[in-house]
Structure formats: structure tokens, C-alpha cells
Amino acid sequence: MSEMQEKSKEVLLSIQDLHVWYELKRFGFGHAGFVRAVDGVSFDLMQGEAMACVGESGCGKSSLMKTIMGLNRPTKGDIVFDGTKLTETQGEALRLYRSKIGYVQQDPFGALPPFMSIQRILEEPLIVNGIKDKAERLDRIRRTLTEVKLTPVEEVLPKYPHMLSGGQQQRVVIARAMILEPQLLVADEPVSMLDASVRVEILKLLRGLQETHNLAVIYITHDLSTVRYFSEYIFVMYAGEVVEIAEMETLLNNPQHPYTQALLTASSDPDANNALVMRDIPPGEPPSLVNPPEGCRFNPRCPEMIPGKCDVKRPPSFETEKHHKVLCWLYEGEKIVDATG
């Protein structure tokens, strides 16, 4: 990793105190509160860097990604991508903004239209983005398919999604995300629907693409064990907030937030001894995002809750070591890096 850091890098994506709230309506018009899907998230992503986002369903990670891709509007805060402020972008500029971000969906079969051939599926983004020359389009499709190792290309082009295996379908999805040569790839659980034996293959493909194209990647997952082979940085989301962010090895070896610690305890490696022990899992379930708990949002489930503190005041972000930030009162006394709350 050290030689990677020596290269001077530019910030590609900067998330600044981002809030994404959805309004709840009563009877279709009366205001009934907000779902605070993303609540005060800030981080930077450098060019060519892979970052993993870990969190359970309903923690706001999909809302965050949709907002990054320009599909949602931020309620508060802003996203700066490649020098463009999302809140100031509209119309044609927004389309251009979106074309620089590729998206790999979770369920490849659901993401590919069943009535379109692979060629048509891959041609669509090129047509939308104004590449009028048919020969050039085909040329780019062939190049991309070769790159995702879907060969022989001529055999794949006329096929329909159902004629391909799950792994091959996911390659088509990746090809579609890559065909406009994006600067950022958002991969939403790209391997969770696939068999263990194919998973590794797809992850290695994504890693290879990232390195050859100097591509920034945000890899969303709930499976901590695949993260390790993939990313330089990792952040953990809980109930709309980023509770811990660190370099990957640091986070896996020295998790500091009680929630991250619980996630690591819950993830097992294959070992027959697992059957003999009970895992120490915090009780309860993630809170409602309409009425999140006062103070730290993990406090009702936290084994190390400090009464009178954790349930009263939202913790700021403490920097416990270089590049390692934790949203937890246990680390009070460390340097405060951001005190939104």
C-alpha cells in the first residue's frame, strides 16, 4: 500500500456532511416526520482507491450510493465529484455527471432486461451518451467484453441474459458499468447472489479492472470476509451514520466501535469449533430511522454504554490514530475531527 500512497492522488469524490431524509406524508399530504436514511456523513475518496462500505440492511448505505450516483437529491450537505457539485448540477450536466459513475447491481438476473440481447444491453448506454457510429459502438462493446473475460465475444453478443450462468450475467453487468469508462464504480453487493466458487473470480475481476483503469471503487457489502481482498479503506455504517472509518487492515485487526466489534464477532471462518460456542451478539435490532435513539444510535444495544452520556449526546468523530475515526464516547479525550451533531 505504501507505494500507492506515494503517488500523488487527487480527491475524486468528497462527501460533505451529507443528509438524505425522506419525508413521510400522512394521508398523502400532511407532514408526518422524516426517515433519516443518511444523517451527517462525510468522507473523501481518492482517485484509483477502493473503499468498502459495510452495514446491515436499512442502515442507509443504498440511499448514500443512490445520492452519490445523482439519483437522489441531498437534503443537506453536498457531494463534490471530480470538481462538480451535485447540488448545482442539472439537466445535461447531470447526465454527464452520471455517465462518469458505473453501477454494478446486486442481483445480475434482475438487473438485465430479459428481452434484450447482450449486444443491445451494452449498446444502450453508448446510444444514450451520443456515440452515433455503430462500428465504434461495437468496437467498444467487444473491447469491454474481452476485458471482463466474456469470450468468445461473438458467441456472447446475440445471447439473452437467461442463457448465461450467474457468474457470466454478473460479468455482463460489470461490462455495462464499465462501457462508458467511468471514474468511479459503485458495486452493490456484487457477489452476494453468486456461489462461493464464482465469488472469488468476480472479486478478482473487479480488483483487476480497478488497477488497470486507476478506477475508484465503492464496494458495498455485509460480508466482512470478502472486504479484505478488495479495498484499502473501509467504513462501517449504522442507522444512517458512519460509525467507524479506517484503513482495512487496521479496522479488521483493531476494531474500536462496539458495533464493528460485534460485526467481526458475528462473522465466522469455517471451523468445526464454531458449533461448540455461542457467539456474543448484541441484543435487539437496528433502530427506526424515523425516531432514532437520543445520543449514540447504538446505545440501546451497546455492551459498553455509559449511562448519562451515550444516551444523551451524540458522540463526535474521534481520531484515535492516523486515518482511523470512530464515532464513540469510549474514545473521549482523543482528537475531535468533526463535531457535527
Partner: protein, 321 residues
Amino acid sequence: MENKNDDKLLEIKNLRLHFSTRGGTVQAVDSVNFELKRNHATVVIGESGCGKSSLAKAVLRLLPRNIKTYDGQVILAGEDIMALDDETFRRTIRWKRISMVPQAAMNALNPVMRIGEQVAEPAMVHLSLTKKEALQQAVRMFEQVGVPTDFVYRYAFELSGGMRQRAALAMSLVTLPDLVILDEPTSALDVLTQASIMNLMKRVKNQLETSFILITHDIATSSELADSVAVMYAGQIVEVSDAFQFFSAPLHPYSRKLMASVPRLRMDVEPEFITGQPPSLINPPTGCRFAARCPARFSKCDEEPPMLQIGDRQVKCWLHA
């Protein structure tokens, strides 16, 4: 662990389940043999399409119409239940002795029926309990699986995924069966919920002395419950082994490859992938079905290997002959 009863609960001999389709005969389950002890959990692992779910359906006789072949023996506590007619099977075996949590059971709950009534229904139908008694039994099961007892009066949409999965599990336990078959019980759940459901199944197994067949493709999770492991490939069981021996040193080349493909959280090893694809079950290769993808393939592999007994383990591979 000490009071482990060593008698056999279930014995499957030469079980075959073939479907006829337009493309030909699909050999979904082909000559499967294995045994399950009382109060034991066996996990069946394998890739999608290897016949794991068909095996579960063959044991419970939940069959579609296009059956070509369905034979062999399923011996439950000394009785060959394959010999029973459908009506007797339905009355005395299904739910009462063997129950199942099918794949995505949490999404299959009836949306217009209270959870408690749904969980109580098998007890009313199969144990002839009155509604009141059955509901009491359902409440006991809710306590067992960690669902708050007032959830009896709620509807499925009011429950989170984890709670619905627990309710589905309570439903399969309400008749106190000898054997519960779980088909991918945690694959749609979050990490923490998954771990707490596995905790729960360990507790249920010890307290109710239930046996489990756990069908999954998630090898790491499977090790949370396994007493023994059966590896399935292309409709056949290729290895049956005690969990401790399996997870430390699998015998079959496919099992080894499968274990090597699991990304490790706590060990610094690069996972490998298995090249190629499983064969079609319509015309599977005549010899060893894994031969085409096997790194250790040799001339003998063109013949079908027998199931070899090695100590108390079984493996279907010529390497160990």
C-alpha cells in the same frame, strides 16, 4: 454433548429423484446415501443446482408432477417411510416427525393471518390440539426461538426479517418433530441476525434434542451448527465426514477446492476459484462427475468411483482407493 444418543434417526439408501423435462431426464438426486444420528446436525453443502434442495424435497416427499424416477429407502427410526402411501405419509410423517423450513420461508408467511395462528396451525392439524392448546404451544415455541410472546397477535408485515425467520423456525418446531430440514435458513439475513439465528439453533438443538439437516452454500455459516458434513456435487454426495475432520482436512478434491474458495477473515490466504462449471444434470458424465474440473484427475476417473469408507468418513473418489 455427553448425553449424545448414538442411535440412528435417519438413514437414506440409494435415494434417487429424477425429473423428466423437455430437454431430457434431470438426475437431480442420484443414488444418495447417508445417515443421521439423533440430536445431530448434518449440513449439506454444494453449489446452486447441485440437487441440495431436491434432496430435502425427496426426503419429505414434496414432489412436483414431472417425476421420472423416485425410489430408494428413507428409514426414519427403523421404519421405511418410502413404503408408506401418500395419505399415511402426510398424516404421520410430514410435520409430525419431519418438518421443514423451506428457502425464503420468512417471505412465505401468510400476510392476512396472525403470526401466532400460523405457527399454531400445524399443531392443530397434526397433533389434534384445540386452538387454545395450540396457541399455548406456539407461545412456548416463541419463547424458545426468542420472539416476544405478544407477537402472536401481529401480522407478518409488522415483523423484521430476523423475527419472521424466527417465526418460521417456531412453526417448524411447534409439533416437536424428530427432524427439521432447514433450506438456506440465513442466506437473506444480515450478519448479526444470521449469527443470532445460528446461536438460537444451537440452543434449540440442545434443549429440544432435535436433529437438523441444514442445507446451505455458505460454508462458514454451516460450520456453526455442523456435527457432520455432506458435500453434494452434481446430484451425488461425494463426501460425508465428521465436522472436525472435514473442516481441518477435507478428502475429496471438490471439497478441498470448495474450502479454498472461502474468503477468510482471520487468515491471510488468497481464496481460489474453481475453474469450469458443474456438468448438466441431464446427461452427466459417466465417470466421476467432477473429473472435468479436478486438478488430480487420472485415467481411473473415467469410471464412476464407489463410495469408499475411510475410517468413519466416506468419500467418492479414486484417489483414496
